[in-house]
């Protein structure tokens, strides 16, 4: 099954053109018919005349040409339809009796809304209708007008929930693509910013926008992302996660190769560095690619604070990653296989605290770490008010009581708590999760072979990481391959003046092999 998936995907990738041809075949065009009624019938038939499809047939004053408006309730801004479209049309004086002249008049003069397009294809018209445009059919012409009236109820711009900053902009992406693009524009007014739109999902037809800065982003990178997006061959796009999984280099890797973020400032900064952002309609998470290991641990906050603070926080985060991955493994290794490394006094107190614990260290550690994972998952899924209860249950009941019941040793609770806290310091949730997965591998290795096992696992992870690519770019850069020019912004966040002038840095960004 997995094999098949892997295989089929490869094939698709290699023959990118085939995917495009598929799309074209699917878009067999049906020309707009002359009669308004036929067109309405076609739309009704295709959509099975749903309740939310609103059709208004009107005849303009002193004209005999029947016209019809179609829109879907709820996803359009009805007020603007009434005021701008209908209102304007009714105010037309000297309505020509020739249908084509009427069309031209409406198209060029009468509709005050900025975005009106002529459509010939009924298939496209249906997609336009479903994405919130209002369609105007005019009897006698084989062209329809699609008026941009996207609206309806959307979420307000709020502070991003997953990436809160202490100092920094408070706005986060929302589900509406237009708003998201606007947010990026507000962050950077560079005329070279490009938004390239395509549609994805055989059925969902979601808008996907690739954002980059022309002249900074490498053409090969843009081409590669486009090529991969063109092979997109799935029925439904749920959100940016589907795109991420489709275009990433290794889907077997536990590490994310594409970063997701809710923050417009982060996206703006990334595209200014020469990266590419992918925004998908209907999700507040934008994708940033290529990603390398140091980006994973960077937070926009590093730049908003003074450089010393930024650097210290970064070092803290690197430490956090190491603790989060290694601590339970090292605990297991030291307690069960190499207690000689523990200081003499400490070993006595650990031995006495473990006296009476019925489990081996690995079982004890697994028990606690899995409990912690469950707590984290439960906490994330529950409403905030109940989430606090989970904290109390987890912290007090499970921690304290488990120790008192003699199921785990107090040191184990400390280890697990420290691991969890360290993991929370990783700025990106999906990266933090992948580190949590890796942690288990380390724990098993250490239970079998102690510190030797931990080191072997560390080597394995490193082998994997050096072979890992993000849209073709080495994931481990600037560590390996060593890119000296990027090192002023890896562990140390150099003072702004030393980050060289921004454009120069942009040039050198992972471009040197």
């Amino acid at each position: 099954m997995v094999y098949q998936f892997f295989f089929s995907r490869r094939k698709n990738r290699k023959s990118g053109k085939k995917g495009i041809r598929d799309k074209q075949v699917h878009h067999s065009s049906i020309r707009v018919k002359k009669k308004v009624k036929d067109n309405i019938d076609y739309v009704k038939k295709t959509l099975d005349s749903p309740d939310d499809l609103k059709i208004r047939t009107i005849t303009l004053s002193n004209s005999s040409i029947p016209c019809a408006f179609l829109y879907i309730e709820g996803i359009v801004d009805e007020q603007s339809i009434h005021e701008s479209v209908l209102g304007n049309l009714e105010n037309i004086e000297n309505v020509p009796n020739e249908p084509f002249a009427l069309l031209t008049l409406i198209y060029s003069k009468q509709i005050a809304l900025n975005d009106v397009t002529k459509e010939h294809d009924l298939e496209n018209i249906i997609i336009a209708l479903l994405s919130g445009q209002t369609i105007l059919f005019i009897d006698g012409v084989q062209v329809a007008l699609a008026v941009e009236t996207i609206g309806g109820n959307t979420r307000q711009i709020e502070e991003p929930l997953t990436e809160t900053l202490i100092r920094g902009p408070r706005s986060g992406f929302v589900e509406t693509l237009q708003t998201n693009l606007a947010l990026i524009r507000r962050e950077a007014k560079d005329p070279n910013i490009r938004f390239k739109t395509s549609y994805g999902g055989k059925r969902t037809k979601k808008r996907i926008v690739i954002a980059y800065v022309d002249g900074i982003a490498q053409q090969t990178l843009i081409d590669e992302v486009n090529r991969r997006l063109n092979t997109l061959n799935i029925q439904m796009i749920r959100g940016s996660g589907d795109i991420e999984e489709w275009i990433e280099d290794s889907f077997l890797s536990p590490f994310p190769q594409i970063l997701n973020t809710e923050r417009p400032d982060r996206v703006a900064a990334a595209i200014m560095q020469g990266k590419i952002a992918i925004l998908v309609e209907g999700t507040p998470f934008a994708l940033i690619a290529p990603l390398n290991i140091s980006d994973v641990l960077h937070s926009p906050e590093d730049y908003y604070e003074r450089w010393i603070v930024g650097t210290s926080l970064r070092i803290l985060r690197y430490l956090g990653v190491f603790i989060s991955i290694f601590l339970p493994a090292i605990y297991v290794a030291l307690i069960s296989i190499q207690p000689g490394m523990i200081p003499t006094d400490l070993v006595f107190s650990i031995a006495s605290s473990r006296e009476g614990v019925p489990f081996t260290p690995i079982v004890e550690a697994l028990l606690m770490v899995v409990t912690l994972e469950l707590l984290q998952e439960a906490g994330a899924r529950l409403p905030q008010t109940i989430g606090q209860t989970i904290g109390i249950v987890g912290g007090l009941v499970i921690g304290e009581t488990a120790v008192q019941a003699g199921i785990v040793s107090p040191i184990m609770v400390i280890v697990v708590a420290l691991t969890a806290i360290a993991n929370f310091s990783i700025p990106s949730y999906s990266v933090a999760i992948s580190f949590r997965v890796v942690r288990f591998a380390f724990m098993f290795a250490s239970a079998i072979l102690g510190l030797f096992g931990v080191v072997l696992m560390y080597i394995i992870v490193n082998i994997h990481l050096v072979n890992l690519k993000s849209i073709g770019y080495p994931f481990m850069s600037p560590f390996a391959p060593f890119v000296k020019s990027d090192w002023n912004d890896v562990i140390v966040r150099a003072p702004l003046k030393m980050l060289s002038n921004q454009s120069k840095k942009n040039d050198s960004f992972i471009l040197k092999g």
Binding site: T344, S349, S353, E355, V403, P410, G450
Partner: protein, 388 residues
């Protein structure tokens, strides 16, 4: 893909099979120290039988260590003695008695009884066993026990419950503050025995409490203990080895006992090897120090009096040195001052000639002449001149 499957397969087999070396910490017998005694035997021809006493840390039972301080409760111990020729024959017995697996990584101290130390050809063999063990560290300290070594391990001190830890700490503190000779560790002993050097080990004695007041002298050529230095001789030794900083020398001046603390010690040894049968060793000592208690009636402001005090200290120090040198040369014939090292590094050709007869045969060390000159400088005297 195949790779991953293979890896998964291997990990699964590894997990399903037992983890060979995984032993819960509380199931290990943490051996912190060992006392080696000689078992009395009637027949003298038999190889000496050893009585080995291991001190094991016993963690307190029950997980409720939160109730009353787990750390202090952990320091109860258990001594297990067994008799045999090899040290490791004990391990089985230990397992039988405690159902725990002996673990030597936290081995801190080896206590050798005087009798063991004085037996011919026994010590190098014993030490070798400990040095070869991959789990015992080279930093393990070694001391000699006056009398039975076992009794030291049974001592229950009011402050620390573990006698081994107590002794271990004592040795460290003594070195740092009282100016005793640096504690000797297993690694040093290996070097000493490889080169057949003489050395001095601290002597521990149980006299109401554990005391560390003497030093056991081991003669290089004989590779066994030949006698002891008392506290005064140890002071002299410390002076010779430049390790006496912080040491306090008592001296009497006008029927008062005063204490002189050595702050800075400068020692130079020069060798004259014109006549190898009478190598001349000139030892120059320059000591800066302070008088600890100023409650005496001495007026230190007066130059004459200060001179007088310095002269008395000088005599005292020279006396200490003479005493220890005399004992080392005449009684033990043991170069505990590492004079040989000077010869080796500075007079390599001479050393090549004398190295086989340094402490034996021709006894060049015993024949050598020591020339001692000391220079005492009392530079600051307590905090006040006179307190009346």
């Amino acid at each position: 893909m195949k790779k991953i499957n293979l890896l998964l397969f291997i990990i699964a087999t590894l997990l399903l099979s037992s983890c060979w070396d995984s032993v819960n910490l509380e199931e290990r017998a943490l051996i912190v120290g060992t006392a080696l005694d000689l078992q009395e035997s009637d027949e003298h021809d038999e190889p000496p039988t050893l009585s080995v006493t291991n001190q094991i840390v016993v963690p307190t039972e029950g997980g409720s260590s939160t109730a009353n301080g787990g750390a202090s409760a952990a320091k109860s111990f258990m001594n297990i003695t067994s008799i045999g020729e090899s040290i490791y024959s004990l391990d089985k017995e230990l397992f039988a008695k405690t159902s725990k697996i002996p673990y030597y990584e936290h081995f801190l101290l080896l206590v050798i009884s005087e009798q063991v130390a004085k037996t011919d050809n026994l010590l190098p063999k014993l030490l070798d066993t400990y040095i070869r063990d991959a789990h015992i560290r080279r930093g393990t300290k070694v001391v000699v026990a006056e009398g039975d070594a076992k009794t030291l391990l049974d001592y229950k001190s009011p402050e620390k419950q573990l006698p081994i830890l107590l002794m271990d700490e004592m040795l460290d503190q003594n070195e740092k503050h009282a100016g005793f000779v640096k504690p000797i560790v297993l690694g040093d002993l290996e070097e000493f025995h490889l080169k057949n050097n003489s050395y001095v080990l601290p002597v521990m004695k149980l006299d109401g409490e554990i005391q560390n007041k003497a030093g056991a002298v081991f003669q290089g050529a004989k590779e066994k203990m030949v006698g002891t230095f008392n506290t005064k001789e140890l002071q002299g030794l410390a002076l010779m080895l430049k390790e006496a900083e912080g040491n306090i020398i008592d001296f009497s001046y006008r029927n008062e006992t005063l204490a002189f603390e050595i702050i800075k010690l400068n020692q130079k040894t020069k060798l004259n090897t014109d006549d190898i049968n009478k190598i001349n060793i000139s030892v120059q000592l320059h000591i800066d120090g302070i008088i600890k208690d100023s409650s005496s009636k001495v007026n230190y402001d007066s130059k004459e009096e200060l001179h007088d005090v310095q002269r008395v200290i000088n005599e005292k120090v020279t006396g200490l040195l003479k005493q220890v040198i005399d004992k080392a040369q005449k009684e033990f014939n043991a170069d505990v001052f590492n004079i040989w090292r000077q010869l080796e590094t500075r007079h390599y050709n001479v050393w090549e000639q004398v190295k086989d007869d340094w402490e034996q045969g021709e006894n060049y060390f015993a024949k050598a002449n020591f020339d001692i000159s000391t220079d005492i400088n009392v530079y600051s005297i307590g905090t006040s001149n006179k307190t009346n």
